[in-house]
């Protein structure tokens, strides 16, 4: 079976700072993969390279077997129609009301505004938001509601692949679990392939079919959620159990 996403030896640097140093990985259709790793290890950069927001320095990124690394702008726009993305801070357009945020991608693809608004309202319902929320401005919403609107925007276009960037960061434990459940229900119901990045181990165990850890620009471990507690990898063990002592050294100035 052709992987939905295939990364082959992907490298990315910013000046002298090497962020990705050879990431290779396959994500199969309808699979939910979670990438864990410390802050600044390049998890967001990895997603942005797949989405074409950043250009990988070398290596190949394939979506449904097609190389997306060197596409033209028009080809990239077409490829992006397969994607949805929930950003860490939701990244809602504050100049637009909530419903138009959710309907944005649909309108850009040529759907009539009335039809797009109806679809947006339906999608807001799927993430547990009342129709009245559609008329509000994003700045009037709480953090949890913004995440839900971001999730609605990510899934409104019925994408084949959705990326979740720190979906539960900054939320209280109950709201974080609500978001986790929404992600699971959206991904399972719509048969979406999902790639999530998080530090939140509870979330990673709950939403992932497989978990992998990014460290020093490489994926150093891959396994099932139930294996992550006893991975046998010292780096993964230290991260999962949140220990200050271990092979991962935080760069602290003393």
């Amino acid at each position: 079976m052709t992987p939905k996403i295939r990364l082959k030896d992907v490298h990315k640097s910013f000046g002298d700072k090497k962020v990705l140093t050879g990431v290779s990985f396959d994500i199969m259709p309808k699979e939910s993969v979670v990438v864990i790793g410390g802050s600044g290890t390049g998890k967001s950069v990895l997603i942005k390279c797949i989405l074409g927001i950043l250009q990988a320095d070398s290596g190949a990124i394939e979506v449904d077997g097609a190389d997306v690394t060197h596409m033209t702008a028009n080809q990239r726009d077409a490829a992006n129609n397969k994607f949805g993305m929930l950003f860490q801070g939701a990244a809602l357009f504050d100049s637009l009301p909530v419903w138009e945020n959710v309907a944005f991608g649909l309108i850009q693809r040529g759907m009539k505004r009335k039809e797009a608004k109806d679809r947006a309202m339906d999608t807001l319902g799927k993430v547990g938001l009342a129709p009245e929320v559609g008329a509000l401005s994003p700045s009037e919403l709480s953090g949890g509601m913004q995440k839900r609107v971001g999730l609605a925007r990510a899934i409104a276009g019925e994408p084949e692949i959705v990326f979740f960037d720190e979906p539960t960061t900054g939320l209280d434990p109950i709201m974080a679990d609500v978001i986790n459940d929404l992600i699971i229900s959206c991904v399972r119901k719509q048969g979406i392939t999902a790639l999530s990045i998080t530090h939140d181990m509870h979330s990673a165990r709950k939403i992932g079919d497989r978990i992998t850890m990014l460290y020093e620009g490489k994926l150093i471990w891959v396994g099932k959620p139930e294996e992550v507690e006893h991975s046998g990898n010292a780096y993964v063990d230290q991260f999962v159990h949140g220990k200050a002592e271990g092979p991962i050294k935080m760069q602290l100035r003393r």
């Binding site: 074409g52 504050d94 850009q108 276009g157």
Partner: protein, 259 residues
Amino acid sequence: MNFLALIGRVVLAFLGHLGRLTLFAAAAISHCVRPPIYPRLIGRQMIDIGYYSLPVVGLTAIFSGMVLALQSYTGFARFSAGSENAVANVVVVSLTRELGPVLAGLMVAGRIGASMAAEIGTMRVTEQIDALTTLSTNPFKYLVVPRLIAGLLMLPFLVLIADIIGIFGGFVVSVYKLGFNPAAYISNTYQFMQPLDVISGLVKAAVFGFIIALMGCYAGYYSKGGAQGVGAATTNAVVSSSILILTFNYILTELFFGT
């Protein structure tokens, strides 16, 4: 040696910025002539730039026209008693050729250039521009092109209004304060005004409108960090567009009226 290295670094950084700005401008212009175009967004920007800048540009123009009439009269009075013709001439030529486009350009740079840089800069640092890309929308077409087109079209409109208001300001001071004959003042204004004076001012305005929108979008698009980065982008947009307006004002004056 360190001093030379410092100069070299500054020159290289400047050339880097210049190259990036040139590429940005080329990409923006190429997107202006390729679909999709967003008429709704262009209309919104035209209202923002044109309609909402009218009060500030109008006030600047009327006081400039009034001061110009007063200064010209007191200045010419040192040399000759019959300065009535000269005042109307100075007011109309100065306003249409220079003060109208330059003052309107600088005022709009402060109002609109800053707001464009702040809005796009905030969108950059809050990942809204990345979100546009993920929603199959080209940020250049959605954010930059409408502002460039609106700037290019609305500055000449503002300058035309500024010319009329400024000349009216000169008329008010000349007639009500200096005691000139109103009919003679209007006749002198028509007599001295050449079509090229107005046309050159409108061409300058279009160029200044493009510069203001370009620098506002450029500064915002490449802003980094958080609030501090957006603040720096806003400052850069206003300062760089003001300097470019004054530079291009000389270049265009040389092209139109240079001997």
